[in-house]
């Protein structure tokens, strides 16, 4: 048995392993093409494209954590309301606390609001994770209860009113854009890092005496992704530049992908979802791992909530309504198995982008909200149906 096989084998393996990701990417391109055609190109102009990516951020933070939760065989129904609760708490501090305590320091105030928001998310995650993993109450029930509790908490904090969170320093988080030059610098840094990691990877493989993937394959990969990054920066710079929340999301996705693929924590999550008994008998601390995943999920709800407050500019009683279902749907569209053990963060992001693309496009076409729901529902079921059919006939 060799470590790797020839180029064709390598390509085939890569194709088979990521088939679903590629298929869903194709679906995304098809959806974009359809809307671009029906809106006479307006759908894909710089402004709408930039908005599209910005719109997906709030639920995408949730989806990036939800992947790991579902991969371990769990579910988290509270994420939408937790993000909503974080958003009203952040708004409350912005509107009513900092203005009295530190009236002249808007930046410090914004930073403190962010920290409080993240803290609330993490604490909630700790409590929830503890009950689920150590006290062994099923995740479905704990997070369902949690959802109601948080809904009540939102009403308590807002007193049924809308709290403004539109202070300029705070608004930057979800409404800010990088200057054009900064976008280019960031793009350049990303490309350099990409090249560096590819070269480093090849060197290390050589050190261990593995057969290397053909150079042209890695070259094509690097060129493709570099072009994607440069193309993105160029295109959004035609409008306002790189949006801050999109940048935050990109960083989060990179970290989450890395965690799920390259750390023990991530590997264990997949093993637990794939076969809990085998994982247990392999000396993996299942409770600890599940606990940590819920804490991480809480943190990401914190991020999502802060971005939400800044994005809307208000803390409202309806904050986060239904986001948990969007997050779950994104994961499933992106190939996460509800039975556990399978799923990628990147896939979930593409799933999330598809959901947002549909909403955005249908809105542009002035389709009534009722029909928007119908279309989204149909697409979700069709996607899974196609997957089931495809897996059976592979």
């Amino acid at each position: 048995m060799s470590a790797q096989t020839n180029t064709a084998g390598l390509l085939r393996r890569n194709l088979m392993a990521n088939l679903q990701t590629y298929a869903i990417m194709l679906a995304l391109v098809a959806i974009w093409a359809l809307f671009a055609a029906t809106t006479k190109g307006a759908y894909l102009n710089a402004q709408n494209f930039s908005n599209l990516l910005r719109q997906m951020t709030v639920t995408s933070f949730l989806a990036s954590g939800m992947v790991l939760v579902i991969v371990t065989g769990g579910i988290d129904l509270s994420v939408g309301k937790l993000a909503g609760f974080v958003s009203v708490v952040a708004a409350y501090f912005q509107a009513s606390v900092w203005t009295k305590v530190i009236p002249d320091q808007p930046i410090l105030a914004a930073v403190l609001s962010i920290l409080i928001g993240l803290g609330v998310g993490v604490l909630w995650g700790i409590a929830q994770g503890y009950i689920i993993s150590y006290l062994r109450v099923p995740a479905f029930i704990v997070t369902l209860g949690s959802m109601w509790i948080l809904n009540g908490a939102i009403l308590l904090v807002t007193q049924g009113k809308t709290i403004p969170a539109n202070q300029p320093a705070f608004s930057v988080i979800a409404q800010g854009y990088l200057p054009n030059w900064a976008g280019w610098v960031l793009g350049a840094i990303s490309i350099v890092l990409l090249v560096y990691s590819t070269v480093r990877g090849r060197n290390q493989k050589r050190k261990y005496g593995f057969e290397l993937a053909p150079l042209f394959l890695d070259l094509i990969k690097v060129i493709f992704f570099s072009a994607l990054i440069a193309g993105y920066v160029y295109y959004v710079n035609l409008y306002n530049g790189v949006a801050v929340p999109v940048l935050l999301l990109a960083i989060t996705v990179l970290i989450m992908s890395y965690i799920s693929d390259n750390t023990r924590f991530g590997r264990y999550a997949y093993a637990i979802g794939g076969n809990r008994e085998a994982a247990r008998l392999s000396g993996i601390g299942i409770r600890k791992n599940v606990f940590q995943i819920f804490v991480l999920m809480g943190f990401l709800c914190g991020v999502s909530g802060v971005v939400l407050a800044s994005y809307v500019g208000y803390g409202t009683i309806a904050a986060g309504n239904g986001y948990e279902l969007d997050a779950i749907a994104s994961c499933i569209l992106g190939g996460t198995s509800t039975l556990g053990g399978e799923g990628t963060v990147i896939g979930a992001m593409i799933g999330s982008l598809i959901m947002t693309s549909l909403t955005n496009g249908l809105q542009m076409l002035n389709v009534a909200p009722a029909w928007q729901y119908v279309v989204k529902g149909v697409v979700l079921i069709l996607a899974v149906l196609a997957d089931v059919y495809f897996k059976k006939n592979r």
Binding site: M1, A3, Q4, T263, S282, E342
Partner: protein, 522 residues
Amino acid sequence: MDEDIILDIKNVTKRFPGVTALDNASLSIRRGEIHGLCGENGAGKSTLMKILSGVYPYGDYEGSILYEGKELKLENRSIRQAIEEGIAIVYQELTLVPSMTVGENVYLGKEPVESGSINWDKLYSDTQQILTKYGLDIRPQEVVKHLGVGRMQMTEIAKALSENAKVLILDEPTSALAEAEIVKLMEILEHLKSLGVTCIYITHKLEEFFRITDTVTVLRDGKIVTTQPTKDLSVESLVGYMVGREMKERFPRGNRQPGEVIFEVEDMHAVDPEESARKVLKGVNFNLRKGEILGIAGLMGSGRTELVQTIFGEYGKITSGKIILEGREVTIHSGYDAMKTGISLVPEDRKRHGLVLMQSILKNISLPNLDKFASFMQIDKDSELKESLVFAKSMAIKAPNMFIPCNSLSGGNQQKVVIAKWLMSNPKILIMDDPTRGIDVGAKYEIYKLMNELAERGIAIIMISSELEEVLGMSDRIMVMCEGASTETLEINEATEEKIMALATGVTLTENIQTKKNEVLQ
């Protein structure tokens, strides 16, 4: 031929892309006989069974099958149709709903319905009739999960027979049964035979062919090698037909000299962690020497698996007793602790407990060993691959590369992956719970050789086995368990099947064994 042929399989060929699973197979099965099917994994036995049960429908294969003199035409995946025709299968893995009663399971999907509601009285009385007719000793109202494996197997058979089956196919029915339960199963099969039911019997345990079958057909690489009356065959000739070459010995004896005592368990008592009133271990004593293979024998339910999982820190709550490793008492709270101390466990059921089937060979081998390659922040994937490859190669796992998911490997290769994964953790003590269950003769032999090599390298091995022959063939000493307690540890030269059975059933007089065996089943 003037014999009464119930199933006449003529020149059947079944091709899959790239492989011919069944190659021009012809076979006649006489009414009322017990016909053994023998062959290594991948020889074509399952393919033949799937054709007979309608999983591969008529037209999906070449050749023809005459059943009761007429062409058997089964629709796609219509197992129900096969059952209606009178062909029933009992699969190796049990297919019962644990939370339902015996009766509900037997009539699952065909409940007697009167004006829209199930007639429970009829269901239970019909079930009772079937059970009585076939001499199965179970209560129809019993909930399946409370039955032992042996009785679950009986329920499975009752379920298959409930449609007045003419042909009953049994796919490795004894793989989960202990000796006493096997005896009972054999009695049931004899009884069925006397009622005129034809049985096709598949097993990996060669002795069983000689215990029960009238005729044996051997398959190899999709071809039928021979069909002979069982009385003309011997274990040696059977193995010869199966592997296509002479195999001198089934249990290779290594040349090893066990060293000093490395591991001791003293008077261990433990309770079920979920239910602390239930005692699972009631006084276990044994020791283990460096470089020795210690066999643990005992009936199903004697606490063998519970013992090793408790030692491994993943099952029972120890209430008293000591575990001593290299002269020092150790406490083990989890599998992780056990690994750190140098104890590894190859669990009983590789599919359920040993492997993450959907994941690659690589990920399975490295799973318990990620600490070796990982810092807090990352896993060094290249060194992970390099190290795992070393163990995969030393295990001679047959696969094109390390990225193949384990569910596409054969049973023997899967077991090698499980062993590789645990060898990588560099254990001083390797516990193997039924390591050759359900794998074919060739792969078994490889695993035996491997165990010998490991013992020669100084690893102390504890082997649990349901097959007495295996325990006798491989061990240096044999510890026998009975009802949660250790009885005696026998030196291999003084151990016999009779002595082991006597200790395992808790009787001292050999003539009582048979009665005790039956009592165990009651």
